[in-house]
């Protein structure tokens, strides 16, 4: 479990990025941190692997206080995939990129080989293993960045805007990847403003506004709370908006579900 207790963080220029965040991330859970740019989302997740340390309050990762542990120790448990893959990728080939952290963690060569193959296949990158990461498209780079973290199987996988630049097919794959990792006991924490994706994944949602958690709850509840969403510069998913226009409850996220619901209502509506 990761526990954030009344976490405050201030950047050197005086910006108060986090103002008393308390949050509990259970083992094998899934959380989407949502809010507008500048609301503190990225600052928050940088606290999970100790890249940033609270100026007040504390963060405990499986009981380990991040102020007393090194980033190297924490990274083993908490793998962070940055928003911009260009900030993360540097190796000559995709394969080396994925192997690099594994070498750093001291995995034996045959284990490294096995995990690199596994991660390449998992993210559909096998064809690119000998290519330079820099020659890939934005979406492909993102997948390499994810593969290089997933390969060391951190207990907590933290992703900053994982759907950025990904098309619909890739988003579905990402959703399946999350499901698979969760079945294997991992927790997924993602920062996103992709409301449709968050709705489809049905993660628990934390809305962050001006460095504070404004709301926390199941996707169905938070992503249909129009007023709260507006404060976080988000819009409700299309089907939620549609059902609100129709004054029909409860909110639905899936097209099939919406179809069933409307057909049922239509049956009743007919004289």
């Amino acid at each position: 479990m990761i526990l954030m207790e009344d976490v405050w963080f201030r950047y050197e220029d005086g910006t108060e990025a986090l103002r008393g965040v308390t949050l509990q991330i259970e083992d094998n859970s899934a959380l989407a941190v949502m809010g507008k740019s500048g609301s503190g989302k990225t600052t928050l997740i940088k606290h999970l692997n100790g890249l940033l340390k609270p100026v007040k309050g504390r963060v405990l990762v499986d009981g380990m206080d991040t102020r007393e542990a090194t980033v190297a120790q924490l990274s083993r448990k908490v793998g962070l995939v940055f928003q911009n893959p260009d900030h993360q990728l540097f190796a000559e080939t995709v394969e080396e990129e994925i192997a690099f952290p594994l070498k750093n963690f001291g995995f034996p060569p045959e284990e490294i080989e096995k995990r690199v193959d596994w991660a390449l296949n998992l993210l559909d990158l096998a064809d690119y293993r000998h290519d330079s990461p820099l020659s890939l498209s934005g979406g492909e780079k993102k997948r390499v960045a994810i593969a290089s973290v997933v390969a060391w199987k951190p207990k907590y996988l933290v992703l900053d805007e994982p759907t950025l630049g990904q098309d619909y097919g890739r988003k579905l794959e990402l959703k399946r990847l999350f499901e698979k990792l969760r079945r294997e006991g991992h927790s997924i924490i993602m920062v996103t403003h992709d409301v449709e994706f968050a709705a489809e994944c049905k993660f628990k949602v934390a809305l962050l506004v001006d460095g504070q958690i404004l709301a926390l709850g199941p996707a169905e509840e938070i992503l249909s709370a129009t007023e709260l969403l507006k404060k976080a510069s988000l819009t409700a998913p299309q089907l939620v908006e549609l059902f609100q226009r129709l004054e029909v409850k409860p909110p639905v996220f899936e097209v099939e579900e919406a179809e069933r619901f409307i057909l049922k209502l239509a049956g009743k509506a007919q004289p």
């Binding site: 809010g35 507008k36 740019s37 500048g38 911009n84 498209s137 934005g138 979406g139 492909e140 805007e161 950025l164 630049g165 990904q166 098309d167 619909y168 097919g169 890739r170 988003k171 579905l172 403003h193 409301v195 449709e196 507006k230 510069s233 988000l234 819009t235 998913p237 299309q238 089907l239 908006e241 549609l242 226009r245 129709l246 029909v248 097209v255 099939e256 919406a258 179809e259 409307i262 057909l263 209502l265 239509a266 509506a269």
Partner: protein, 282 residues
């Protein structure tokens, strides 16, 4: 005359086996608002790079067929010359902004054109005003929000007054409300100015209602091309697993198949809500 005309355009990046574009035939008339979508790697960004000559002049590779932009043969004309015809706004505004103030960023391209100072001032004010950033002109770009940065990047391109503006996934770094704002600004610019607009985008929910034409690409080819409503109807039948078709369009299709008559494909929530409401609350 078409402002962009591509004939049998096929392109391979250097050291690449597979062509990124395969036999593209495309005519864009002056004043159109074209949205191009399709899965990653489908060639949509590559196609945009042909419009302003980054392909073949910067990326190299092998370009076959013909492409003309405002009468200029892209293969023969320099990127500097093409830059006056086609303004390109990128995905990540951070890659486009670098000065200490927004105003200076917008002036930079104009200074390079060697325009007189009064003209530069006039155009900077004009462009910042159009994107609604006049109040922030003295701010450093890195202090702006993502949405404001993207507006600044648009102003930089706008100030050059190119007849064609190309936006390559302009909102993928932005939150939904800022994304809507950017789409509204693009639509406003298109309506106010004599512009041809091309937007490459995954996020179709808020954009298709503004567009006059929607193109889907897949594996380097144009697979669907037409009025947004018609293209979305076809796409929801044949490409729904590959492309993020807006959910209202998908729901519209499923309900229509069930015999509910809802008129032509809905582009927005309102367009679907209205007939449904009439049906459910007669």
């Amino acid at each position: 005359m078409a402002i962009i005309e591509a004939q049998s355009l096929t392109y391979k990046y250097p050291n690449s086996q597979k062509p990124a574009l395969q036999n593209i035939n495309l005519k864009v008339e002056k004043g159109e608002f074209v949205v191009i979508s399709g899965p990653s790697g489908c060639g949509k960004t590559t196609l945009c790079r042909c419009f302003n000559g980054l392909i073949p002049h910067f990326y190299g590779g092998e370009l076959q067929g013909e492409i003309r932009v405002n009468g200029l043969n892209v293969k023969e004309v320099s990127t500097a010359k093409l830059a006056t015809q086609v303004g390109l706004v990128f995905q990540n505004p951070e890659n486009q902004l670098f000065s200490l103030t927004v105003e200076r960023d917008v002036a930079f391209g104009l200074e390079n054109l060697g325009l007189p100072p009064q003209e530069i001032r006039r155009r900077v004010d004009w462009a910042l005003n159009l994107v609604g950033l006049s109040g922030l002109k003295d701010k450093p770009p890195f202090e702006l929000s993502g949405g404001q940065q993207q507006k600044a990047a648009i102003a930089c391109v706008l100030a050059m007054q190119p007849p064609i503006m190309v936006f390559d996934e302009p909102t993928s770094f932005l939150d939904p409300l800022s994304a809507r704002e950017i789409f509204n600004i693009i639509a406003e610019l298109h309506a106010k100015l004599d512009l041809t607009v091309i937007v490459v985008e995954h996020r179709l929910e808020f954009l298709t209602a503004h567009a006059s034409r929607l193109i889907f690409m897949d594996e380097g080819k144009i697979v669907l091309d037409g009025k947004p409503r018609e293209v979305l109807k076809e796409a929801s039948e044949s490409f729904s697993g590959k492309i993020g078709i807006p959910k209202v369009a998908l729901l519209h299709r499923r309900l229509t198949l069930q015999g509910i008559s809802l008129g032509s494909t809905s582009l927005t929530v309102d367009e679907l809500a209205e007939p449904l409401r009439r049906m459910l609350h007669p």
